[in-house]
């Protein structure tokens, strides 16, 4: 792996701290805050997405190495398929006849 773009120690520490902050923030929002349930869901979902991105770039070396294009392509493809499967299913199962 090319050392030029390899995450430095600083990057790892920043990533680690950010990861911890996001995790505890999510726990705090769910357990301690007085927001509406739907609002809690929205916020922790956003946190989760940021967290996933953080992990992919800071620790899983998404944007590094000679095969980085391939990694980006199949990660994007996997996310696309995941969205199709999850949101597609929800859409198909709820449109027309709402589920109680």
């Amino acid at each position: 792996m090319s050392s030029k773009t390899h995450a430095s120690g600083v990057g790892n520490i920043v990533g680690y701290v950010l990861g911890l902050i996001l995790t505890f923030a999510a726990v705090w929002i769910v357990l301690e805050s007085s927001l509406a349930t739907s609002m809690k869901w929205t916020i922790i979902s956003i946190f989760a997405i940021i967290q996933a991105g953080l992990q992919l770039f800071m620790f899983m070396h998404m944007s590094e190495g000679e095969d980085r294009d391939a990694k980006v392509v199949h990660t994007v493809y996997a996310i696309f398929m995941g969205i199709i499967v999850v949101f597609g299913s929800i859409w198909v199962m709820t449109a027309g006849h709402p589920i109680g």
Partner: protein, 657 residues
């Protein structure tokens, strides 16, 4: 558990009884024969534990042909039952079991294994590799698929066959409407077969991406290799969906959960949704390699470069994306509303575009070509109109508003048989005739091949074309009988006669294989057909264990053709040959076969605790694999390689084109 222990063996009906007797007699015959000729050691060493991709491929094909016969007998029984009105040959329950078994076996244990077999034989040769990336894993994939096939096939004698169709829709397939253990076979056996498919997919994806001969860029890969690569991609994406659906279905049936039940908040249509999210891509998993085969055959026997190679590749890639965006067209009638149906109608019609591109490419490849009417080309020529009929009726079915008329009628049955038989089976026969001489050193007999083709082709159309009209007249699929007043009788009878012709065609195919292995002239030409284009025609015939004595350097698409054109040296200097490293045989995959079979059987029979405990068996196999000493493989000495090369197709001449 509501198992009736006195009904474990289902042999009350005469058909079952005689099948049972037949199976026992033939098994005894097989065991006696192997013992008498002292072939056990040979079978074990040369085949069952062989990690040679070519042998694994042949074992896949043998499995698939056995399953073809089983599924074919199911088809004959169904057709015989419906040949005349009010027939009493099969009871309604038995008919349900037969059509469920026919569909499941033909898709999972015939179409997929036979294509896996062809991939194993051809892909390493086409990319200039000596083996697949993970030879032992490859053998494991075969044995896991076989464990699933055996488990599914004993169902009809031991415990009862699944009877809810190959789609096994909830809630019908759930405990609420189908008590007993029969349907468990579906969920457990297919789960196991899914492991096998996943292993194949990962193995071939890595093989194709990492093991191509130097110089072979992605856009210099032969078409069959391309379609295999994309098929693997679809498998890796789609199979996990099915795995989860099957797991949830199995938990519902065996452990009493409520994923798809009607009671207690289950969502039964979610099964249909997840099933088709996997099963529509599955259609392309079986048909894309078939497209690849047809592309190879058409180019070879038209003596022309495949027309529109790049558009062909892009069509396959586009199909692979679209294949995951059309699943709702299988259940428009669920009542999901016009918006959803319209969206899926459009995606469905859109997928006809890349498929159409492929058809035109084949036609343009043939245009002004000097077509040789050899056996493989005959099947390719039969494929095009047959598949076209399947495709066009598919577009008709794809229109959501019209689909309400066709849904669940024989029109649909005719459509998917035109695509799956007209598409996959024709291509598979083309592939078998095309590559057979490469691996066995003789061609299949031309005359018997003609009988095979014409009986099958005429029989197939006679059998399934009438179903379009029956379907439009309102004959529903999966109907075990009908009254004479419906007027369905004559067309059903015609369809039955067609099925007999198909069976006769398959008999000729089997006769051809036996006759040709005894009588046909042996050949050692490297380029068996004289017009070969891709790297498999560069190696000796029959293909030696190591495939390529020297890994070729690739300069062009259709490398062998390119070398013939440019008059470049086709063989290599014997001095270049070095000792060749080969993978050792392994008995572990066979152990995994036994382990998965036992574990699966316990799940089917709902021994909940014991079944979960038995999962230790496959894990034990994995542990043995990890913690025993690493096997270095063995070397074929250079001297032996040179001898083989001189003997098998050592003629370094190439036929003029």
């Amino acid at each position: 558990m509501d198992i009736k222990w006195d009904q474990i063996l289902i042999i009350e009906e005469p058909i079952m009884f005689w099948t049972f007797i037949g199976l026992i007699v033939s098994s005894i015959g097989l065991v006696a024969g192997l013992t008498y000729f002292k072939k056990w050691g040979w079978l074990w060493r040369e085949w069952l534990t062989s990690t040679d991709a070519k042998k694994v491929g042949i074992m896949y094909i043998v499995l698939a042909i056995v399953m073809l016969v089983r599924g074919g007998i199911d088809a004959l029984m169904m057709k015989y039952q419906t040949a005349v009105p009010e027939n009493t040959f099969l009871s309604s329950q038995h008919f349900n079991e037969v059509f469920s078994a026919h569909g499941t076996i033909m898709i999972f244990f015939m179409a997929m294994p036979i294509l896996f077999g062809i991939m194993n034989l051809v892909v390493p040769l086409q990319i200039g590799a000596r083996d697949v990336a993970f030879p032992k894993l490859n053998l494991l994939g075969f044995w896991i698929t076989t464990a699933a096939a055996v488990l599914y096939n004993i169902a009809f004698l031991v415990g009862g066959s699944p009877d809810a169709g190959w789609t096994s829709y909830f809630p019908l397939a759930g405990k609420e409407f189908t008590p007993g253990i029969g349907n468990n076979y579906y969920y457990v056996a297919l789960q196991i077969s899914g492991f096998g498919s996943m292993i194949i997919a990962i193995n071939f994806m890595v093989t194709i991406l990492k093991m191509r001969a130097p110089g072979m860029g992605l856009f210099k890969m032969p078409m069959f290799t391309w379609t295999t690569l994309i098929t693997c991609l679809i498998m890796i994406i789609a199979f996990p969906i099915f795995t989860i659906a099957l797991l949830a279905g199995m938990l519902d049936r065996v452990f009493g959960s409520h994923f798809f039940t009607v009671a207690d908040g289950g969502l039964d249509m979610m099964w249909a949704n997840l099933f088709w999210l996997w099963a529509h891509p599955e259609v392309y998993i079986v048909v894309l390699p078939a497209f690849g085969i047809i592309s190879e055959v058409v180019a070879t026997f038209s003596k022309k470069r495949l027309y529109g190679y790049h558009s062909m590749v892009w069509a396959v890639i586009v199909i692979s994306v679209f294949s995951l965006l059309v699943w709702v067209h299988h259940f428009y009638t669920m009542g999901v509303g016009p918006t959803v149906n319209s969206v899926f109608s459009i995606t469905t019609l859109a997928i006809a575009v890349p498929t159409g591109i492929k058809l035109f490419n084949w036609l343009f490849t043939m245009r002004k070509g000097r077509i040789a009417f050899e056996q493989p080309m005959l099947w390719a020529l039969g494929f095009i109109p047959t598949f076209l009929i399947g495709g066009v009726t598919g577009v008709m079915l794809g229109m959501a508003s019209a689909d309400f008329q066709y849904h669940n009628t024989l029109f649909l049955v005719a459509h998917f048989h035109y695509t799956l038989v007209g598409g996959v089976v024709y291509a598979v026969f083309a592939a078998i005739y095309y590559w057979w001489p490469k691996f066995f050193g003789f061609k299949l007999n031309h005359k018997l091949g003609n009988w095979h083709f014409w009986l099958f082709n005429v029989g197939f159309n006679l059998s399934f074309f009438p179903l379009f009209f029956l379907g439009l007249d309102g004959a529903a699929r999966r109907m075990y009988t009908y009254s004479a007043e419906t007027g369905f009788g004559p067309l059903y009878m015609l369809s039955f006669i067609g099925t007999l012709l198909i069976a006769a065609g398959v008999v000729f195919f089997v006769i051809n294989m036996v006759y040709s292995s005894l009588k046909e002239k042996r050949i050692t030409d490297r380029d068996v057909w004289g017009t070969g284009r891709t790297l498999e025609w560069l190696v000796p015939t029959p293909v030696p264990a190591y495939n390529f004595a020297v890994i070729p350097k690739v300069e062009a698409l259709d490398e062998v053709w390119h070398r013939k054109e440019t008059g470049k040296a086709l063989a290599f200097d014997e001095k270049e040959i070095k000792d060749i490293h080969m993978p050792s045989h392994s008995g572990l995959p066979f152990y995994m076969f036994v382990a998965f079979f036992i574990s699966g059987f316990l799940f089917v029979w709902e021994f909940q605790a014991l079944a979960i405990a038995s999962l230790a068996l496959p894990f034990l196999g994995m542990a043995i694999n990890s913690f025993t000493s690493y096997d270095e493989g063995y070397y074929i000495p250079a001297k032996e390689v040179i001898e083989t090369e001189r003997k098998g197709g050592g003629e370094q001449q190439w036929k003029a084109k």
